[in-house]
């Protein structure tokens, strides 16, 4: 681009007036109520909110797995109607297939590529997630952190433009979770895809996100959007970090002290 300031933030995802309700018997549950949200290309956005506020529902609708009742979702200006390999969803669990080896799992989106190319791509992503030597292992033989890395590698292997993650680190112990956050950041800084990650962990959103979208519960609305303009790595004891933390807790309506 000749003009460096021309397109600083290129709009990738545009959500307008999104509503979603579930019917349970003859009861109606309004889960998402008129959400507006924009995500820029290459941005790392965290969606933060208490359990049951509709984060998964929002992400499922964004991923094209569920239909909205009102409103629109455009990605690159195109209406989202179904899942698409350009936007890969990483599930908290059950994402990778227990019957397939690490290699086969990562190759899931590459079935129609020539075998040679497929092997090259798999090898590249096995290396990226540091699982060399485990190519022929089954998920049952891997630790939780390793499984989650396989899920990430499987997603990245198809070079998606967007990765949606629904509490991807939720099942891990706190030390592994820290290591995995670092890993996620490293991969994101290298591949520069757009990431929308759902979490209920304030520190997780603070350490990962460019912007944190805070949701309220029942019905899910956006309580506020907080840009986290802190350089990586982010030190949780820094005062700027803690100022942001207080802001997030404030939006969640929760006291941080115990």
């Amino acid at each position: 681009m000749s003009a460096p300031h021309a397109i600083e933030r290129e709009l990738k995802v545009e959500v307008r007036g999104l509503s979603k309700r579930f019917r349970r018997g003859n009861e109606e549950l309004l889960v998402l109520d008129g959400l507006d949200l924009e995500i820029a290309r290459g941005e790392f956005v965290c969606i933060l909110g208490p359990s049951g506020c509709g984060k998964s529902t929002l992400l499922n609708v964004l991923g094209g797995f569920e239909e909205a009742d009102a409103g629109s979702i455009r990605i690159d200006g195109e209406q989202v109607t179904r899942p698409d390999p350009r936007r890969i969803f990483v599930f908290q669990d059950y994402g990778i297939f227990p019957w397939a080896t690490v290699r086969e799992n990562i190759a899931l989106g590459l079935l129609r590529r020539p075998a040679r190319e497929r092997e090259e791509i798999v090898a590249r992503y096995v290396e990226l997630i540091g699982l060399q030597g485990f190519e022929d292992s089954y998920p049952g033989e891997l630790s939780g952190g390793m499984k989650q890395r396989v899920a990430v590698a499987r997603a990245l292997a198809v070079s998606p433009e967007i990765v949606f993650m629904d509490e991807p680190l939720g099942a891990l112990d706190s030390l592994t979770r820290l290591a995995m956050r670092r890993e996620l950041l490293r991969i994101w800084q290298r591949e520069r895809m757009t990431i929308a990650l759902v979490t209920h962990d304030v520190d997780e959103s603070l350490q990962l996100a460019d912007r944190v979208v805070v949701m309220t519960s029942r019905p899910g609305r956006i309580a506020g959007i907080v840009p986290i303009d802190l350089p990586h790595p982010r030190d949780p004891s820094a005062s700027a970090y803690n100022a942001k933390k207080r802001e997030l807790f404030g939006l969640l309506g929760v006291r941080a002290d115990v």
Partner: protein
Amino acid sequence: MSVTAFVTAALAAVAIVASRGLRQRAQAVVLPVATGVLLLALWHLWAESTRYEIATPGEPVRTVEIFPTPHRTLVALRELMSDGRLVRYSIASLFRVAVGFLLAAAIGIPLGLWAGWSTRASYSINPFVQALRPISPLAWIPIATLAFGIRDEAAIFIIFLGSFFPIVTGTMSAVRSMPVAYVRSAHNFGLRKFELLAHVVFPAALPQIITSLRIALGVAWLVIVAAEMNAIQSGLGFLIVDARNMGMRYDLVVAAMLVIGAIGIGLDFLVRRLERIDSVRWGFTKE
């Protein structure tokens, strides 16, 4: 004779009680062996208690048991081996079971996958599967005989029915209980219909399919005996009826029962080996 059996039974009982002090691995050997010996000795004592005497003029008095002793059963087993009936009849029964069972698997697995996947298929297939399932395969014997005559086909048809329903039902529920995330991932990565079936639905259902095959083969082997009792001229079921009808040979009856049990264990062992295939082991290990 009785005394020996008594002493043997007592020793076996003592071994069972005394094994408490042994290590677990030793108990794993001692307990089944001792229990087996105890049961054999009790069987012998009981059979002896049914002994009676036959006095034929001009001949020495013979003693015969109404129920065969373990020893007489063993002799009968040897008779069956040496006159070739054991192998011939076992093969005849196994052949019928194999054909009926494989036919049931070949039709039941695809049908179960389809009915588990498609709501429309389930609406049309499931009510009839559920309605026919509780009918014992043995109830079909008259119909089978009417349709196929007294031939292999009739027994094969009975075996088919006995294995078909567990396989369809098991496969169907396997597909239905599959986590949504599997299918969503597959759609997400752009898998087409056949790829979805081959790479996701089938492998996800496979452990439960194997379990249903195991149940089905068990049922098939249970049912074959009755299916062959119905005037077919070969097979282990025929052997049992024939041995009784032709001269009250209860020693042959019991020998045939033992063979049926042993083959049943062997079949189950074979199916269980399927559980060790790498890509299904996840379905059989609980964390």
